[in-house]
């Protein structure tokens, strides 16, 4: 049983979409994350930051969904950044050889800084 149902919220910071998945990324509800990113990609947004601060668990389904997001952004030559990911999850990405395909940042500010966006 999932302690919290999966939800996605997002906001636009200049030309960057910051997406906040919330809950376990381990079932089809996680497709909400893909559609949210695709929605931005369709409007021409090429920079996406996914903040995992409120996501405790990513399983194989979650990884499949994240690959999907990555592919969509690659198709438009976009950039995908992950922030606030737990060490265990970062280690899994590392172990799977995926870390070179994604950009990891400890927090959102640093990801936005990297993407050359300053808030306020």
């Amino acid at each position: 049983m999932n302690p919290s149902p999966f939800q996605v919220t997002s906001r636009l910071v200049k030309d960057v979409a910051v997406v906040y998945p919330q809950g376990y990324l381990n079932n089809l509800a996680g497709e909400g994350l893909v559609s949210e990113c695709s929605r931005y990609a369709r409007t021409g947004i090429k920079k996406v930051v996914v903040n995992f601060g409120k996501t405790d668990l990513i399983n194989s389904i979650g990884i499949s969904l994240l690959l999907h997001v990555m592919e969509e952004l690659q198709a438009v030559e976009g950039t995908l950044c992950f922030t606030d990911m737990s060490k265990v999850q970062v280690d899994i990405f590392e172990m799977l050889g995926l870390s070179k395909f994604f950009l990891f940042f400890p927090d959102e500010d640093r990801a936005l800084q990297f993407l050359n966006v300053r808030e306020r």
Binding site: N59, S60, I61, I63, S64, L65, L67, M95, L96, L98
Partner: protein, 398 residues
Amino acid sequence: MELGKALFNIAALADLGEEITSEKNFQEKLHSLLHVVLGTFLASRGAVTCQDRSGDTMAFVARRGFDDLSPAAIDLGRIRSAGKNEPFLNADDAALAAAGVEVVTPLWVRDEFIGTILLGRKFTAEPYSREDFELLRVISHQVAITLNNHALFLNLSEQLNDNRKLYEEMRRIYHDTLQAFAAAIDAKDMYTRHHSQRVARYASAIARELGWSDHDIEGIYVAGFLHDVGKLVISNELLNKKTPFTEEEKAEIRRHSLVSYKIISQIKFPWKDVEKIIKHHHERLDGTGYPDALSRDDLSEGAKILTLADSFDAMTSERAYRRKMDLRSALIEMNSCLNLQFDDKIMLAFCRVLDKEIKGELPEPDILPHLGRESDLTVISAMLEGLIEELSGQKDGG
């Protein structure tokens, strides 16, 4: 296989089991299963096809990508002639190759060809490994049974039979994988070889004596296997050090139960509280254990069982820093730690199992075969009888 990868594969099988047994409708279930497969092998494209019963064609039942692939274009003869549920690299089929299909697995249940799993290249562009193929074979078998169960023409008894087989197969896979994994943990520390396996067996024997259900016994067995996973983060030199540990080194070693907990919490097992039992395998009834310094009433029965099984094995096996104890000394030592470290109810169950094993009352002993033969079993048996009387007397007296 690398340990992290082994753990990831265990987790993938757990995900698969969860999806197969879920109450979702068939379409959703297959869609989830496909995601599990894609995520496990890091493939961005994949599909599950099902044989059309009326003719010799296939239909997609779940897919991601392969949009241009028409099922009619697939050469079924070639796929049928390959091994049952054996993945192979697509080399010959032009239609599949054009669509980007790299790996084909024919799905069979008994003598019936029922479909395929098709996978595209890995996102990382790495080739599929031998381990990938092994895991894919296991997964395919289960997806095949799931597909087959759905087919309406199957009669109920056959379905039940397949479900039971599927469940047994899942258990076997779990145990094989866990075993490989536990062996790897134990190999890191030369003095604790087979420690995880023994602790698993001791703990499940105690749980059985306490009347636990088969399902829960399986859970504590798995907890026993994995309780020291966290030792993987401790350096080999420190683990195998012969001189006494400094305070800092002790603290470093004590991290392992919390690390085990963090790793295991990532896996969704079909058993309850595996991760909590593991977290608390170094807690003590007197509240001086770690990591949470819990005391008697806060500790679950599972944690108390694992603590005792773990300590008993530590006492009766050789360690870098000390010789092993004989059975008699270990029992005396454990008895002197009652209510401080060990729960008397668990100790009583442990003594009962051991006593039964010595008397040959249990067909498959779990503890005795692992102990040295230097002890005189008649002396031990008399000692156990005394302990059992004392402990059950205590219980009756409140």
